[in-house]
Structure formats: C-alpha cells, structure tokens
Amino acid sequence: MSPVDRWAHANRWRRLHPLQKTVFAAALGGSAFVFPTPVAAIIPVIAGLFLRYGAGIPIRAFLRFMALPLSFLSLGAIPLLVQVQPSGFPLVWSMDGIPGWWIGVNGEGVRTAVTVWVRALAVTSSMYVLALTTPVPDLVDMLRRLNVPEILLEVMHLMYRYLFILMEMAQQTYVAQSSRLGYRSWSRSLSSLGRLGAALAVKSRLEVEDLYRALISRGYRGRLTVLPPPWAVCLKTAAWMGAAVVGLAVAAWLVGRRLHG
C-alpha cells in the first residue's frame, strides 16, 4: 500500500546510519529555504542523483514519486498565481468577477508562485532522500537516541506494524464487499464504507487483547525495546554528501554576487 515504504526496505542505503541520511536530507531541505530560487532548482537533481547512484533507486521510480506532489503543487501554485484585487489596479491579465473586484495575474504573483513551486519541489525531493531509504522503525530507533519520550516511540512502533495489518483488513473487506455488490452506487458505497469503518474500529479494539498476549508471552516488561540492526556511517558517502551541500552553498554565493554585485 505504500510504495515509499517498499523502497525504504529495499535499497542500497538500508544499512547506512539513519542519522547520516537525516542530516543530509535536512541539509538539502534547509538549502531550499535559504538559498535563492535558481540554486534551489538544482536540489531535485541532486536528490535524484544520490538516490540513483547512492541508494540504487532508479531515476524512473524517483520521477514517479515526484509526479504526485508535482501535480498537487502545480495546482497548489495556481491560487498563488491568481490575484484577487479591488478594481483599478493593473494586472497582467484580468477579467471582471464580483463587481468592483478584479481577478488576474501580475508579476508579483508569478514571482511568488515560481518561488514556492521550486522550493516545494526541492524540499519534497530532499525528504524523499530520507523517506525512500529509511523505514519508519529505523527512524523510531533514531528518535530514541534523541531522547524522545518513550511512550511516543512505543506508540509509533506498534502503530507502524498495525496500520499495515489494518490496511490489509480494510482492503480485503473492501474486496469482499465489492464482490457482494456493495459499491454499486453512491448511497450503497457510503453505507458499505460506514460498515467497513465500523468493523475496523471494532476489530482494532478486539486486536488489543491479542496484541497484549503477544507482548506478554514474549516477555514484555514495561518497555518496548528492540535491537536495531547494526548500522554504519559511510565516510565516502558522507564526503559526497558534504561536497553536494558545499557545492550548493558556492552556487548560492555566486548567484548572490551576480544579483547584488
């Protein structure tokens, strides 16, 4: 159900220390906020290259992952592009809407839309560097070392396991309902889905007892502790990562000089 999760478990960076990946992703993402737009535009390319040549995730898969946010984003940028203004102010293109108001596009809007568009794309691709290479359990273990309260970690661990179990339940139930014509029309769909949701709620409540037994029988003693698999920091990869970030900074400096100098 989550292709992101599938890659997170099957990539070449699987054993790379999650902290190393997190720092790199954060540095890339941070760069997108602080560096000028033309530099931020390079970030998705860098992310794609690291995923391809570092983690071994094909460019095509990366592009597919980018496509969905890209479509959200392109649509999400439209409201930024379009301005609604009291009449009398110049717009690049305009039409009359509500009497006394103008709807249209102007330079300011175009600038904002492009900035946000590029930035969002850059940050999204940086986050994929982390999400596509690091499964949630690894992140939870990392958070443990950062002293996040135990109860949250426990909830995250169990939630991760169980959301897939519940999702599978939901999917199978949906299929079974469809085979009995449960989704023939809008009203039947609503009623079938209501049943499905309710059943899921009841079943997840019943699941508590089984989960309790499972934990107890395996010696649970008040804390959910696991041993994360051995991770390693890779210096060579770290050097490449550092070089990329430095490269971005240099580019930002050059662009800045060009603009101000």
């Binding site: 339940m169 199978q172 139930t173 309902q177 085979s179 009995r180 014509l181 049943r195 309710a198």
Partner: protein
Amino acid sequence: MDKPTFALEGVEYNYEDGTQALQGISLGIESGKKVAFLGSNGAGKSTLFLHLNGILRPFRGRILFRGQEVRYARKELARLRAKVGIVFQNPDRQVVIGHVWEDVSFGPMNLGLSPPEVEARVEEALNITGLWDLRDKAVHLLSYGQKKRVALAGVLAMKPEVMILDEPTASLDPGQVHALLELLERLHRQGIQIVLSTHDVDFAYAWADWVVIMHAGRVLAEGLPKDVFSDTDILKRASLTKPVLWRVWEELNKTGLYDGGPPRTVEELSAPIARAAADRRPTFG
C-alpha cells in the same frame, strides 16, 4: 448449459509491486463439474478467483463467462457478480459487522430486491447453512466455524449460479470439514456449481470431478483426478504430494494383489482387498 462456465484465454496479471501473479492462464471450467484448484501458497489461485468475479481485471488476455466476454462496465460487472459468488478464505474479512441476519442480507439488498424477497432469501440461506438459531447474534461474537458459515450464507442468499470458495477447509476441524462437504454436496445437487481451491490433496482427490494444478502463476496441469495425480513430476514441481490413498494403492499395486483402480475413499479400497483375500483363501484351503 453446454457452454463452459468459464473460459480463460492467456490471462495475465501483475501486482502493483511488479510481482507477476498470473502469467498467461488459459483454461476452461466446464458447466456442472466440481472443480478443485490445487497449488502451494502464492501459486496464484486467489488472484485467479478474483478475476472470475470481476474484482480484478486482467492486464492481458480475456475471460469468458458462459461464452460471453466479461466486460468491466458497472452494470455488466453487477450482473456477473450476481451470478458468480465468492466465499473468501478468511470469514473475518467477509463478515463485516452487525447481526448474522444483517450481514446475510447485505448481498440481496445490494441486488436491489424488494424487502420481502430479501427476507425470503435470507431465511432460506440461514436455514440451509444451519444458522437460523444464530440469526440475531452479533457476527464478531461467533466462533470461527460459524463465521465461515455466515460468509457462505451471505453469498448463497444472492442465489449465484457458481460459487467460488477460496480454501474453504482451512482452519476447520474434521467435523466442520465434514459438515461443509455435506453442504457443498447439497448445493451441487441444487445445481449450483462449486469451484474451490485447497492445499489438501487428499480432500481434492476425494471430492473433485476436475482438478487444476497451479504453480507460480501458471497452470501446470488440468484434468480428471486420476490423470492429474498419476503425474509424479508435475506434483513435485507444484510442491504437492500424492494423496495418501493413491500412495497406498501404488504399494498394493506393486504386489499384484490388488486389482482395482486408484480408490478415492478407504471404502473403495475395501472391496478389492476383500476380493484379494477371497482369492487367496482357497489356495490355503
């Protein structure tokens, strides 16, 4: 009714993650036959079954139901699903929530029948599955075996022409399996065609008119039980074993003492054995 119930022609299906679940399935299911699909877990049986009821749509190839190609428009799918019912392996996924009665009425309601008609069908389905006394119980409080029967009743109440059962005997105890078989026999006599999947070679051997062996998304063999189970090679490739009675028969055959064909039940074994013994006694006498 001469047309085959199902004809599949080169059906291919891949899952989202790229797994090739069905790799070109071609087969025919003759009308009126009791058909068993055998194969290991992951062989593609369940995926195939989801195609028979139009839940999944083949990437390539086509499926014919009674000679007509299955189309995936809303209305035509509804018609197909009204005729072909599926009972899933895990009743917990099929029996959703509510009273037994409410759950069984789900299908007939969706068929758009009048309330009295729905009621009549639910009653009949509950009676035939022996659930009448449980009709007002909440489904999640039932035992596993009872839920399995509710799942069956829910499909029966739609009066399908074909019933497809995915691993109907899984997790049932011998008594429950016996009761299920009796029920299936009864449905068969009423003219509902039964198609099922199973891991249990002994069961498939004793029950089926026609056996299909699947492995890794392909059909390895189909035919009469006596033909399919004589092919040691295919069974090995599908990681299946021969039925116990078949193996016993092979042992008996080696000795030349046994003159019958492969027996499907222990009872069928006894007559030839008795004959062999009778043959023998005079030689001593």
